[in-house]
């Protein structure tokens, strides 16, 4: 059994961070989490002395990590961006999942790769969870918009609900738009009309 590694996790997404922390903990690693901390990342690295830093690709803190080995010549734990030239697929998967790793220079690449793969899998499943959630939220918002647009059409076109809905559906088909988008347009136009603009 290899020595557990100390991992610093830098991620503002609370749920995702918990997923990654849980999974890496199961692999026997020690995970230090950092969530929305305003403190300097330099100090976090100095204090925790991690072997690996797993960081959200979109985090502004990446530049701080990227420069550490170049700037802090006396830092006992310089970190370098992990990009294994022999594993371009892992790098591509990491970029697409939005996760990157910085490691202490000299760490065995296979160990880093194993950790990165665990993080990639959790980032990817979080991404699909969020896509599903966004879709569900969008559908809910669309339904509300369609109701409002129907109401406005019934008032302005003096028609019933069924006719109002058919009107929206025809507009959507004619324009090749989603019915939710058409509803938003209808609301926009009819509300402006009501305000006399």
């Amino acid at each position: 059994m290899p020595q557990p590694l100390k991992i610093l996790l830098v991620d503002d997404e609370i749920v995702r961070a918990a997923m990654v922390e849980e999974a890496l903990g199961q692999e026997g690693h020690e995970v230090v989490c950092r969530l929305q901390s305003p403190a300097s990342l330099n100090e976090m690295v100095a204090r925790h002395a991690p072997d690996v830093v797993i960081i959200d690709m979109e985090s502004p803190d990446r530049d701080t990590l990227d420069s550490m080995s170049l700037l802090n010549r006396e830092n006992p734990r310089p970190v370098v961006f992990f990009a294994d030239q022999h594993q371009p697929d892992t790098m591509q998967a990491a970029l697409e999942a939005g996760v990157s790793a910085y490691v202490v220079d000299g760490l065995v690449p296979s160990r880093v790769k194993a950790i990165l793969e665990v993080a990639i899998a959790r980032f990817a499943s979080f991404q699909s969870m969020r896509t599903e959630l966004d879709k569900a939220r969008g559908q809910l918002a669309d339904r509300k918009r369609i109701e409002r647009a129907k109401g406005l059409l019934m008032k302005h076109q003096d028609c019933d609900e069924e006719q109002a809905y058919r009107m929206l559906r025809k507009l959507a088909m004619d324009r090749g738009q989603r019915i939710g988008e058409v509803a938003a347009n209808v609301i926009d136009i009819l509300e402006r009309l009501e305000k006399g603009l």
């Binding site: 300097s40 979109e58 985090s59 502004p60 530049d63 990227d66 591509q92 970029l95 990157s100």
Partner: protein
């Protein structure tokens, strides 16, 4: 996403960091200059230079607004994964400010604006404030002040070092250098996490406007008219898409011509930059896009042609870093990276 043709338009994604010298791609998109060249360009705001760099190298971006030294550092494999990268166009010259917190800059004079033609960018010697800072360092003692810049391979890093050297200050011993992305500078200064920084506009003037610090030197004082940002594309991408690269160069050049044509255009450009996907509230303190005014001397309305000679000041720093590790900078590599051939070919076609 590599370039693809959709409905007669070439679809591209360009990365940028929120800064005034991201103006040309923003103007080219909002003003229709990309569309006029048959390009449908999405602009992707990035949070960190290293992320923009890695996305470009991996092909997730077709091109990017880049720190001028970065394409060379990528080509040399000393920043991120080794990736041959080209800088076929200069997106901006000058524009950097060195800001110190109120505590450190009290009473220091503003760097002089100099002459409008940029020939004598400062009547005032930047060493005056640097020596003053050195004196204050000596008087105060205590922990070394923490100064931020934007990336190890940036003009901001090199200019900060050169300015400190003018005051006889050892950048590795007497101050602590840290890296922060540009949009974080003003808030970090306000919160007291850093004592000063060197950054591109509008972040320096914003910190001064908010009263958290003073501009004590400018990049234009140290390196007059140096290329500050370039368009960056990978050599592989440029080889695969020579026509698209030509169209990109012409669209950006047209945007620069339009910007330089009237002060009304500079106002319109500021309004475009103020849109939420770009710089948003960060330009709220500017009435117009500040071009050519002191002490910053930002230039984004012309002189877009790259050349290896223009890169001399930053190439010297990179050469020095390579020599420290027993290597040296190959002039042929520098010449390839900042070659004007793509620019000349694209703009020549335009005239023909």
């Amino acid at each position: 996403m590599t370039a693809s043709r959709i409905a007669g338009l070439e679809r591209l994604t360009l990365g940028f960091i929120p800064l005034l010298d991201a103006a040309l791609p923003i103007i080219a998109r909002e003003g229709g200059f990309f569309a006029a060249e048959g390009l449908d360009v999405a602009l992707s705001r990035e949070n960190a230079w290293s992320t923009l760099r890695d996305k470009l190298a991996a092909g997730l971006l077709d091109g990017a607004h880049m720190l001028a030294p970065l394409p060379l550092a990528m080509s040399l494999g000393i920043s991120g994964t080794a990736c041959e990268t080209l800088a076929p166009l200069v997106l901006g010259r000058n524009g950097n400010t060195l800001v110190l917190s109120r505590r450190w800059s009290e009473g220091m004079p503003l760097p002089d604006a100099g002459t409008p033609d940029g020939q004598v960018p400062n009547a005032r010697n930047p060493a005056i404030n640097a020596r003053d800072f050195a004196r204050r360092l000596g008087d105060r003692g205590g922990p070394a002040p923490r100064l931020a810049m934007v990336h190890p391979f940036s003009c901001q890093h090199y200019q900060l070092r050169e300015w400190l050297a003018l005051g006889g200050i050892d950048a590795d011993q007497e101050v602590e250098l840290v890296v922060l992305p540009p949009p974080r500078m003003a808030e970090a200064l306000e919160a007291g996490r850093i004592d000063g920084f060197c950054v591109g506009e509008p972040w320096g003037s914003l910190a001064q406007h908010r009263g958290n610090g003073h501009i004590v030197a400018s990049g234009a004082q140290l390196w007059p008219n140096h290329p500050e940002k370039v368009l960056g594309v990978t050599a592989a991408w440029a080889e695969r898409h020579p026509e698209i690269l030509g169209a990109l160069i012409r669209a950006l050049a047209a945007a620069a011509d339009w910007l330089g044509a009237s002060s009304e255009h500079a106002r319109q450009a500021r309004d475009w930059l103020a849109l939420p996907p770009y710089l948003d509230r960060a330009v709220g303190h500017l009435e117009t896009l500040t071009i050519g005014t002191g002490p910053v001397q930002l230039r984004i309305d012309g002189d877009l042609r790259p050349s290896a000679e223009d890169m001399a000041p930053m190439a010297a720093h990179i050469d020095q870093a390579l020599r420290a590790q027993g290597g040296r900078l190959d002039p042929a590599r520098l010449a390839t990276c900042y070659s004007p051939v793509h620019f000349d070919a694209a703009t020549h076609q335009d005239r023909a």
